[in-house]
């Protein structure tokens, strides 16, 4: 396999896909661990005899717009271990069902679990090429390693390379970014930190909101410190100079301040004042309500009509 793709495609991966694959793997693993006979793991073609050998397979769906491939969702597939292929009829049936609910999504590729892509995966990859000319292959490593900092996900594309004079399709790694829509990000945050769904007091809501921002800024700070330490190490001569990295750092610094135009200031202050206005009106509403209560209590206490 080559080290990196040169297709120029940008891959965006949604967290739902990651959680979907994780759920698929854990479910099949727990069934396998509880089962007493090998035949009961029919969901995966009856292949693995132990949880350690387990691989699950599925399809990736999403949208491709120009050079951007956005993987929104996934569904499980049936793997036939005897022919080392995916059940085509099942795939088509599932695709038909998903099209009814998500008509804009197309099959972009497939996924599997494991340490890395296998040579035999090329067979499955090629079989999907008549659905998508250039399918994507996502591999998730389900081994929990607490020392790792990066997501154990690799995305592969196929490229035609001439090896020993023979043109062959090989899988090459591609970079990807995590993309979330606002609602997805909120629900990920909700389950990641297991927040209660009830309102809580105003103080609790404020604390939750500010904690989220604080954590994000803390991450930003730690990233900046890493860059700073690298630059100091380069200056001391402890680390080799990387001109590309230095150019990126310089470019980042020159982008600050991010926005400093009069238009931005006007819009920012407008939002600021709108919020203050709403707060002011809410305060007045509260005062009116309290005043009304006082009047009623006064009337009740000194009511001459009873």
């Amino acid at each position: 396999m080559a080290s990196s793709s040169s297709s120029g495609l940008t891959f965006k991966l949604h967290p739902l896909v990651i959680v979907n694959i994780s759920d698929h793997y854990i479910r099949i693993k727990s069934q396998l661990q509880h089962s007493e006979t090998p035949d009961s793991s029919s969901a995966n073609g009856g292949g693995p005899s132990t949880a350690a050998d387990l691989r699950v397979f599925g399809c990736l769906i999403g949208v491709q717009c120009g050079r951007t491939v956005e993987i929104f969702n996934s569904f499980e597939l049936v793997y036939d271990s005897s022919s080392h292929s995916l059940d085509r009829a099942y795939l088509e049936k599932k695709q038909e069902l998903y099209k009814k609910v998500f008509p804009k999504f197309y099959i972009l590729g497939w996924y599997s679990t494991g340490n890395d892509a296998d040579e035999s995966d090329m067979q499955i990859h090629k079989s999907l090429m008549n659905i998508n000319e250039n399918p994507v292959y996502l591999v998730l490593n389900p081994t929990i390693n607490h020392s790792q900092k990066d997501l154990p996900i690799t995305i592969y594309e196929s490229e035609l390379h001439v090896i020993d004079g023979i043109p062959q399709s090989i899988l090459v790694r591609s970079n990807y970014t995590i993309e979330t829509v606002e609602a997805e990000r909120i629900s990920i945050d909700h389950v990641a930190h297991l927040k209660p769904s009830d309102g809580g007091s105003a103080g609790t809501q404020l604390a939750a909101h500010l904690t989220g921002i604080h954590s994000a800024i803390k991450m930003l700070n730690s990233r900046i410190r890493v860059l700073h330490q690298y630059l100091m190490a380069v200056q001391r001569g402890d680390m080799p100079l990387d001109n590309s990295l230095l150019r990126q750092v310089s470019s980042l610094l020159r982008r600050l301040p991010v926005i400093d135009s009069e238009k931005f200031r006007d819009d920012f202050l407008m939002e600021f004042n709108d919020t203050l206005l709403i707060t002011y009106l809410a305060m007045f509403t509260n005062c009116s309500s309290i005043m009304n209560e006082v009047v009623d209590k006064f009337s009740t206490a000194f009511d001459k009509h009873t």
């Binding site: 967290p15 739902l16 959680v19 979907n20 994780s22 759920d23 854990i26 479910r27 693993k29 727990s30 069934q31 661990q33 509880h34 969901a43 099942y90 049936k93 599932k94 609910v101 929990i144 790792q148 900092k149 997501l151 154990p152 979330t180 829509v181 606002e182 609602a183 990000r185 909120i186 629900s187 990920i188 945050d189 909700h190 389950v191 990641a192 927040k195 769904s197 105003a202 809501q205 404020l206 909101h209 921002i213 954590s215 800024i217 930003l220 020159r254 301040p257 991010v258 926005i259 939002e271 600021f272 919020t275 709403i278 707060t279 809410a282 509403t285 009116s288 309500s289 009623d296 009509h305």
Partner: protein
Amino acid sequence: TDAIYFYDEAGQAQVQQEKPWANDPHFFHKVRISALALLKMVAHARSGGTIEIMGVMQGKIDGDTFIVMDAYALPVEGTETRVNAQADAYEYMVDYSQTNKQTGRLENLVGWYHSHPGYGCWLSGIDVSTQMLNQQYQDPFFALVIDPTRTVSAGKVDIGAFRTYRQGYKPPDEPLSEYQTIPLNKIEDFGVHCKQYYSLDITYFKSSLDCHLLDLLWNKYWVNTLSSNPLLGSRDYVSGQISDLAEKLEQAENQMAHLRLGSFLMPSHRKKDEESQLTKITRDSSKIAVEQVHGLMSQVIKDSLFNSVCP
């Protein structure tokens, strides 16, 4: 942690035979939702925009708890337009369940979910009728409501789970559930049916691999947290809320005017109704203000972080 992912077919069949919920209309108290199911439902609800979407949930029963393992969308929209909208999708549900069983998803349906974009998590008259029908023929079954608009506006998932009482059953007085803002055009529908159902406590669970991946995911999506802007994202919703608030104020003021004129003849309890309406309006206005202030706080923090740096 991962034992919950195993589906005990024999155990579930036994529970279905025993039917402990048949004689106790208040049998179920809790719902446990998997991270995957929540993510799928919220994403589906948001994708519908202002249209009410619908789906079903698969899972199992554990004592008085529904455990939701997965959820899938149905090709049905506008759930508030007719009772039992999911009847349009029975064929789809049968096909989907069959395909699910082939991949080892053995759980049965335990409930249905739908969205109330912008008007809160409660059951309307149509929802109550639908759920009563479901409980009559598909029990154990529960209803879940998600408000994707309020989710984005408030920055937390707005969700509610409910079970209806059977026809003719008079529920005991329950402590008031958490207050939520109901738009003026929905208040009557809410008030008429609010005693016909009760809410279930919702908790969430995730697998060990989910925990690990979500921790690592934070290393990527912290950027999205920092770059989100709730002030711009829910502008239309906030405008709608403020308009609704103004209309409620008008109504409260009209009632106050009538009260003043008829205070000699009106019984005293009428004053309490009008007071509580103003108190509710105050709470609604505070909620709007708090959400706006939260959004503004993020913007001010980001402005001082990224725009106050001199090169």
